[in-house]
């Protein structure tokens, strides 16, 4: 009798810790492979690691060197240019297309997947397609010349001052459709009664959008901003495939900088410190956002 009771007790106790038991492998991997690794990289950024990790403490020397490198400041300013154009243009196109598509458009079912499909492609594929499309020798410029517009010139991809904008074009091509879908979902959630009431009062379409609809899309704007900015900071494959960081260093960004310093230039300490700076930038955007999202839901 006593034993049966104990077994039952064991079973209920098992049931009560089972959920935590099930969650624990995932938590363990996340803590080790994400947070443990972050701490390790942070530690390496304070050491004299070169080709391999080494544990001689050098304080802030790597950061000091990093911020004095021309190469790094080029990468940071390229990212700043890329990210701001990318975010603004994607948001503008996404919002514009969503509003247009929301006007009871015939063929919406056909247009939407056309806008969205680039999202399914790898950045390497996108880069390959655009690299060639923008190549003055065989791409767009050549086509325009063959069609008789001989003064047409579009050599941005080979031009140090403009190459970064070709990265913007390709990246916008890939993700603006996705942003459109986010805004479209937001638009479809807006209450029509308010709009009808405002129409009765004689509000113009422009004013309806400006005063009622767009303000209600605030959550969509916020998610778009968060997703686009983190994509921008993480951009690596697209640049590798499109320009390889060139011409010269014209399209070098922190992600490519980190890779080349760590794995090809054998300056692991500096590579680690650049990764830490990247993480802190993303954290500055993500943590407040996640905090607000998770609190709200309680």
């Amino acid at each position: 009798m006593h034993q049966v009771y104990a077994r039952g007790d064991f079973k209920t106790r098992l049931q009560s810790i089972l959920p935590k038991l099930v969650l624990s492998p995932s938590l363990a991997v996340i803590f080790l492979f994400v947070y443990g690794f972050i701490i390790f990289t942070l530690y390496l950024s304070f050491t004299d690691s070169r080709i391999l990790p080494s544990y001689g403490w050098v304080g802030f020397e790597n950061y000091d060197k990093l911020f004095r490198l021309r190469h790094w400041s080029t990468a940071v300013s390229n990212l700043a240019i890329f990210a701001s154009f990318y975010i603004v243009i994607c948001t503008a196109i996404g919002l514009g297309l969503a509003i247009f598509l929301d006007q009871k458009i015939r063929g919406e079912g056909l247009l939407r997947p056309i806008y969205l499909y680039p999202m399914a492609l790898s950045f390497i594929v996108t880069g390959t397609a655009w690299k060639w499309f923008l190549d003055p020798g065989i791409g767009l410029e050549n086509t325009m010349h063959l069609w008789g517009w001989t003064s047409f010139s579009f050599d941005w991809i080979k031009n140090r001052d403009y190459a970064i904008y070709t990265v913007v074009i390709a990246a916008v091509w890939q993700t603006s459709g996705f942003v459109m879908a986010m805004f479209l979902a937001g638009l479809r959630g807006i209450d029509n009664e308010i709009l009808k009431a405002a129409q009765m009062d004689g509000a113009s379409n422009f004013n309806l959008y400006r005063r009622i609809i767009i303000p209600q899309l605030r959550p969509a704007f916020l998610s778009a901003f968060v997703i686009l900015s983190h994509l921008a900071i993480k951009s690596y494959d697209l640049i590798i495939a499109l320009t390889g960081g060139g011409p010269g260093r014209a399209t070098e960004v922190p992600a490519t900088f980190m890779y080349s310093y760590t794995f090809t230039r054998n300056q692991m300490g500096i590579g680690a410190s650049s990764a830490v700076i990247m993480l802190m930038t993303i954290a500055a955007i993500m943590i407040p956002y996640l905090y607000a999202e998770l609190r709200e839901k309680k």
Binding site: K20, F31, K104, I124, A129, D237
Partner: protein
């Protein structure tokens, strides 16, 4: 998209509508053009590409570039085509997607129906892991894979993709299960059903839409990954994206553009197919999972 989508109350005049359609069609062209031209030119012989206009229809249609990209093109040092790398990618994607989805489902179930103190913080920590720049984990990951004897193997890549996919799969299932009535779970508990029984009998049968979302998301992300493949793989495990990049950016010999294009389309095909077949369910499931305000 579905019956629930409410049409806007905004009314537009004739001229505005012509303008709307014009803009929408122009953008459709913008999205179709680079990829469409790539498809067109992958069916031309090389001489036609270099001498001619990229916008023109092939004078001689050929599938030679496709065959070459698949099985004979020079990638790195070996003339293997993309075929072996395609299988590498498949061998990597299938287990990684399956395992990360299973764990995501269980995690989401625990985090919504078996809540405990501090679970939101733990979830927040998992969620943040989705957004880290992976550069921050490259160095220690290379070390750990080396120590575990997984460097350069498909198993190593599977592990990496599971770890960094868990945050997303957990997010999807958590949001989805949050809307699932907890009373049903409690009632089943009263009847003596245990943790796994409830999951198996009650949660799973209604999880179809979110499983689709999770599988599509993970499949696309892992198939398209470049950074981890470039960092941790060698010949026996090199995924398609890295092989494609090697093919396209190899500096030796004549640039066979048509072969490059065929290769790029081959690399894009699986995710495009998934998107065409199930893209609708993806958008629908995503919205069902994150209905907000």
């Amino acid at each position: 998209m579905s019956a629930t989508s409410t049409d806007t109350a905004i009314r537009t005049g004739q001229i505005t509508r012509v303008f709307l359609y014009l803009v929408l069609v122009l953008f459709a062209l913008f999205y179709l053009l680079p990829f469409g031209i790539m498809v067109l030119n992958s069916l031309k012989p090389l001489s036609e590409i270099r001498g001619g206009n990229m916008m023109s229809i092939p004078e001689v249609w050929t599938i030679e570039p496709w065959l070459s990209a698949w099985s004979t093109a020079q990638i790195g040092v070996q003339p293997t085509g993309l075929k072996p790398y395609f299988w590498n990618s498949i061998k990597m994607v299938v287990p990684a997607v399956a395992i990360s989805t299973v764990f995501g489902a269980l995690n989401g179930y625990v985090l919504t129906k078996w809540r405990f103190r501090g679970d939101t913080i733990l979830f927040g920590l998992m969620l943040f892991s989705c957004f880290i720049p992976f550069q921050i984990v490259l160095i220690p990951m290379a070390r750990v894979l080396g120590l575990a004897g997984l460097a350069g193997t498909t198993s190593g890549l599977v592990l990496v993709h599971i770890v960094y996919g868990l945050g997303f799969t957990t997010l999807y299932f958590r949001n989805y299960y949050q809307a699932f009535p907890t009373e049903l779970v409690r009632a089943a508990q009263m009847d003596g059903a245990g943790f796994f029984r409830i999951f198996w009998r009650i949660m799973l049968p209604s999880s179809g839409p979110i499983i689709v979302v999770s599988v599509i998301w993970q499949f696309t992300n892992i198939w398209n990954d470049f950074l981890f493949g470039a960092s941790f793989a060698d010949f026996d495990s090199l995924p398609m994206t890295v092989a494609l990049n090697n093919l396209v950016s190899s500096s030796t010999g004549v640039k066979e553009y048509n072969v490059h294009f065929a290769g790029a389309i081959l690399a894009a095909l699986p995710t495009l197919l998934v998107y065409i077949v199930a893209g609708r369910y993806f958008v629908r499931g995503l919205m069902a999972g994150s209905v907000k305000g």
